[in-house]
Symmetry: C2
Subunit: 574 residues, 2 copies
């Protein structure tokens, strides 16, 4: 490609509304432009990267035996009513009425559409397993789109769905997809980890997320140093502390703590560590027959964080997890949130495993301005149940039983689910089994955020000068930069000849052939755009039959013989 015929839309300044590095660099390198909140146009440079990602995904999906289809963006509400998601899905589902006032939505995902297709097209167990995928535009009306294409409203997703006559068969395809995902991220050249994950609103029993490791990642993922165990912190089990709970040694003492509300303030006022006090959080419980949601107390150690996902799955707790309004707590418990505690608390009280292991702990006294010290379970406070309520922390024992956990940040780029029969049951997707009985199919689903992969590759691969593309998804493999081409016939001839040779060798080259471009600008642009290899051609080098080569990660350029330039590049590309 000649730069004179290609939109190089680099920016010197970083746009002010970009927070993360990938967003900044995608704007600065001219990969994307914002159309409106959460809506981006892919410029020619960005689209080249996106297509390379798409192609790798497509090849691996095909190799995994999935068949490509293309489903509509706009989906009829009826199907979502069948699955129950029309009601369940929040405002992220963009609902729209057509000219005849019929309700539709823009698809954030396509379980309903594919299940409808499959229930109509497949009717025998002999046709199973069957996997279908598409690479297609999705829409989620995020309340706060941000980080560019990392969390945009319109985005491109590869979504695949598999159908099975048995759980065994699902497990086999799930394993094949797991491997295909590893192949994809290996080929793209990303440092990533598959981790155990929660299944969220998609439903189903078993799932893995694929995370690109990056400090800017929105998700915390945990690893064992003693095994392969890896999980999203949402999912990672926090084991009970080892050994017996220490015996009580202190007596329950009420202490005036005027103006003390937070754990930090309590610790300061009482001169104790956060791990020696508990916090009591009040959430809404499952509705009773009259629709009334009782209050439920969740008790954690002061230094631990509540895990919402774990909490909302507990018996007696409403999902999604909802904190009780302050007024209701005051009215029913007679105390503000700053002085709550498990002693004599007249509501269902669920206690985290670590908190339940404390002796002689401090807590709110359920009386504004007072706390207890020397509180002990059983003697002073009752746990209705002891549960896993918290996020694991660095140094916790691994739930697999081997090693301790460390926490890293990750960007979720893929997610695979064993859906089970959630959709097929609701929508009556059945096949005839070997003995002629109609049985509900078992399903899996498998997503990759294709546009997000591009951003995550940048989060993981950049320096002060710009992007450093992994070879497989670089928009161009080589930049060819002339020095003063408009003044030197020799430079022009050498570049034109190199350009043709590179094209003939099947190498994706960007020839910076703009007549009046300044060398410094061209060099800065090739770095910013992250092109992995660069040749610079000038009169001085040509006098010695040489050109300059620099790899994007190299500190310095080296002179190489012009005659060897193509071979040198071919070697560098392999």
């Amino acid at each position: 490609m000649r730069a004179s015929r290609f939109l190089i839309a680099t920016l010197k300044e970083t746009p002010h509304d970009a927070e993360v590095i990938s967003h900044k660099l995608m704007l600065r390198a001219g990969l994307i432009r914002k159309l409106a909140s959460g809506l981006y146009t892919w410029l020619p440079l960005g689209l080249r990267v996106l297509r390379k990602v798409e192609n790798i995904v497509r090849e691996e999906m095909n190799a995994a035996g999935a068949q490509e289809v293309l489903m509509p963006v706009v989906q009829p509400a009826e199907l979502w009513e069948e699955s129950g998601r029309w009601q369940q899905y929040g405002p992220e589902l963009l609902r729209v009425k057509d000219r005849h006032d019929r309700p539709f939505c823009l698809g954030p995902t396509h379980e309903e559409v594919i299940t409808d297709l499959v229930r109509n097209e497949l009717n025998s167990y002999k046709q199973l397993p069957a996997s279908f995928y598409q690479i297609q535009t999705k829409f989620r009306d995020e309340i706060r789109p941000r980080f560019g294409v990392m969390r945009s409203r319109e985005f491109i997703m590869k979504d695949a769905y598999s159908f099975h006559a048995s759980q065994d068969c699902l497990q086999q395809t799930y394993d094949v997809m797991h491997k295909a995902y590893c192949n994809i991220f290996d080929r793209i050249g990303l440092a990533y980890r598959p981790v155990l994950a929660d299944t969220g609103s998609i439903g189903g029993a078993f799932s893995h997320e694929f995370h690109v490791l990056a400090d800017s990642g929105e998700d915390a993922i945990v690893f064992s140093d003693g095994s392969d165990y890896a999980a999203n912190v949402e999912k990672a089990e926090a084991l009970a502390p080892a050994g017996e709970r220490p015996a009580a040694t202190a007596s329950l003492t009420k202490v005036a703590t005027p103006g003390v509300h937070t754990i930090d303030e309590v610790c300061k006022a009482l001169s104790i560590a956060p791990g020696q006090c508990v916090k009591t959080l009040i959430v809404l419980g499952q509705a009773d027959d009259e629709g009334r949601q009782p209050l439920v107390a969740l008790v954690l150690r002061g230094d631990h964080e509540l895990n919402d996902i774990k909490a909302e799955k507990l018996d007696g707790v409403a999902a999604p997890l909802t904190f009780a309004p302050e007024e209701r707590i005051k009215a029913e418990l007679g105390v503000g949130t700053g002085s709550l505690g498990p002693v004599n608390l007249p509501i269902l009280t669920l206690v985290d495993r670590a908190a339940a292991h404390l002796a002689d702990f401090a807590c709110g006294a359920n009386e504004d301005g007072f706390h207890f010290t020397g509180a002990n379970w059983d003697r002073d406070a009752k746990a209705a149940r002891i549960e896993d309520l918290r996020n694991v922390v660095d140094g916790d024992p691994s739930p697999c039983g081997q090693g301790t956990l460390a926490i890293k940040r990750g960007i979720e780029v893929g997610h695979i689910f064993q859906l089970g029969t959630k959709y097929s049951e609701a929508m009556g997707a059945k096949v005839l089994t070997e003995n002629g009985k109609a049985e509900t199919m078992t399903m899996g689903c498998y997503g990759i955020g294709v546009t997000r992969v591009v951003a995550s590759a940048i989060e993981q691969n950049h320096d002060d000068n710009g992007i450093i593309w992994p070879a497989a998804i670089a928009p161009f493999q080589v930049a060819l930069v002339p020095i003063n081409m408009n003044k030197s016939e020799a430079v022009r001839d050498a570049c034109e000849s190199l350009y043709q040779s590179l094209l003939a060798a099947g190498i994706d080259v960007l020839f910076m052939d703009e007549e009046k471009a300044r060398l410094g600008v061209m060099l800065a642009n090739t770095e910013l755009m992250g092109i992995p290899h660069r040749l610079v051609v000038g009169d001085r080098g040509l006098e010695n039959g040489e050109v300059e080569y620099k790899g994007r990660r190299d500190a310095e350029s080296v002179n190489i013989p012009l005659a060897n330039a193509i071979d040198h590049l071919k070697a560098a590309l392999n």
Copy 2:
């Protein structure tokens, strides 16, 4: 591809709601399935065809110097307000509000988005011309979606836009695009014609449509037998009849015509030919300062059809063309529509060239139940202006001055426009010229209905057995059909070996390897799916070292040596 791993979703019965052959065959061959009115899922077989069309389009757009981008489906209303189309565009524009109640639409076309991009990214005449294209999902909320993907609501379009500093430069790119379109349809292998066209609601001055010729086409296109002239009937000028108008010979006579309303009834009652009477149509005129739209009469020969597009462009006529309500005609003219005529008609009267050439004609007497015979222009009736109001008909002289016109049916698959400054002016898209002045860019736009191309290829290429794909877009080039593979090791071995050899030769082959499939069903399916070449392998042939070959258009199959099968196919594919 092995059929055992591929969704062959052929249907024996033609679905009842399919009207045209392409829709029937796309359903029957398993290319698409309907999700909802005007919304279709592309099945694996159909998607293979669609991708081949896309790739040809992409290659030719790249060769024409256009740069691929990808713009969002969802577009903010503000941009459409800037161009004025938010108000102008009818209910085909699907409008939607996001969770923050901000207005958006699903893009039926992307002039606003690309113009916004270009005004921000390009600022110098040196960057022009610049052309951008995308292959992307569009939505038009058709009032009556029909004919499958031919007139669907969601569809895939290739839309390209070019930007220029001068009309000359636009003309050059327009010519390049015209050639690129010819290359595309040539490569796909369709019989098509570029024709002069009206510019419609997109705006602009000059445009060509590309029509695939097919009897089922929705558009009438006209050709001269004496030149290259070709136009959409909407656009084709109807010349005035040659020579002077004959002199009046009859006197104006009022005739009672009770119950006579239509031209047919008038001709029967008066024993005259439709070409010897005129019909008078009342439409709304352009609004005056108070917003009132006067009535306007359009007078045509009884055997001619009004051309709405021509009429609504006339001075004094409101656009879009709107027929006056019967009550208003009665109230203001004192007569019903069945007895209208140009004699003593007290409103602006525009007369078609052919009608204005009549002498001694019949017409309504502007009195219910009465007509005139022997009417003559000037003497009895006044034409305010003589205009081109009608559709041309078979045998009309060509407006180019050479030959006569013939009419064929066509399916519009492409449309190129010289937009001029309609969008760039409204949206302030300017560049600095050589002398440092900011000037509005001139634009072109260029569309191809990618999904519609697939349907039109079928309209033009099918027989009683199904689709006959042009080679370049066939989902598979070769079908490999075994006879009793589950019983014959020799057949299985020969097929497996042929399959591997075909794949190795880079030939797209569908191996009908399903163990229990019946031969008749497999053969019918390969014909229905339109696979251009077929090899049938059976024990009887193998005994003689032969397999059966049949081209999709061949009446009979021929035996060829197994050893030559690959070479035979390679030759057939070229």
